[in-house]
Symmetry: C2
Subunit: 167 residues, 2 copies
């Protein structure tokens, strides 16, 4: 979609645009996670990020399925929000010398990414239902459930070990 | 803090840096919300955004209180994440002609902002407790509770009327 072209006329257009936005975001996340895995020191955090990377690849395939179900080719549009979140992750990582403090920052960054995904998938599920596309809503809901579970897992990991070691 | 200067050595440094990040974010939100109020058509959505603006002003005062409690002057550092989220809000608004569809997009954007705040305040509360600053944690928790309540209120408004009108 071009900027300021009033290309979005209907809720259906907005739904497709937001699918394209999160499709871009998920693809950027698959590029950012290997760098986060490389920077993480705690083995459980590393393996948590590896699990997230593999889940993200599955979520991209699910988005492609939703595009097809809804009669569109998968396409990405630049998402300044995820670009900003990833830029902030890179900046903060570059400022931290201590490994345990870096792990605490990395887990916080990963949760910022999760929350962006949670809000977008929550919206997409609501819009799909409103558009009578319960089939699309059901596929998107699977990803939403995964994102919420990942966020909770990261919170438990932060509370149980990462933050304590950093303090 | 400068970029890539390894200025953050401890969890306490990271806590203060993240306070500065969300202090910047809250101030940017107070500038973005009046534009969202002006663009919204639904009266309840408009008044919801007005309530959020007034809450945000209170949250800024709370952050200033936490800075002082922790022996620091309130200071902002650029937060690329909130800049990206607000940029995306402005871009999408510019592409939508229909007022009811614009309302649906605005509520989704507001929830993206809320989720950024929820993740950052959640992290700040956890770090404050780890640092033995339960006094700071308690003030930050008040804001976290407000953000979660606002997000739930926006979800209810979207489900009950805004998305239906846009469809």
């Amino acid at each position: 979609m071009g900027l300021f072209t009033k290309d979005i006329q209907t809720l259906d257009d907005l739904f497709v645009h937001t699918l394209q936005d999160i499709y871009y975001a998920e693809n950027q996340i698959t590029k950012a996670l290997p760098k986060m895995i490389a920077k993480a020191s705690d083995p459980e955090l590393k393996s948590g990020f590896e699990k997230h990377l593999s889940e993200t690849e599955g979520q991209i395939r699910r988005l492609e399925e939703v595009f097809q179900m809804h009669g569109h080719q998968p396409k990405a549009v630049t998402c300044p929000a995820i670009d900003g979140i990833i830029k902030e992750t890179n900046e903060i990582s570059g400022e931290i010398g201590d490994k345990t403090v870096l792990d605490a920052a990395l887990i916080a960054s990963a949760q910022a990414v999760e929350h962006y995904e949670i809000t977008r998938y929550g919206t997409l599920v609501a819009w799909a239902k409103q558009l009578g596309r319960n089939d699309c809503a059901s596929v998107l809901q699977q990803t939403l459930d995964e994102e919420r579970a990942t966020d909770e897992r990261l919170t438990r990991m932060a509370d149980s070990q990462i933050n304590r070691r950093a303090a």
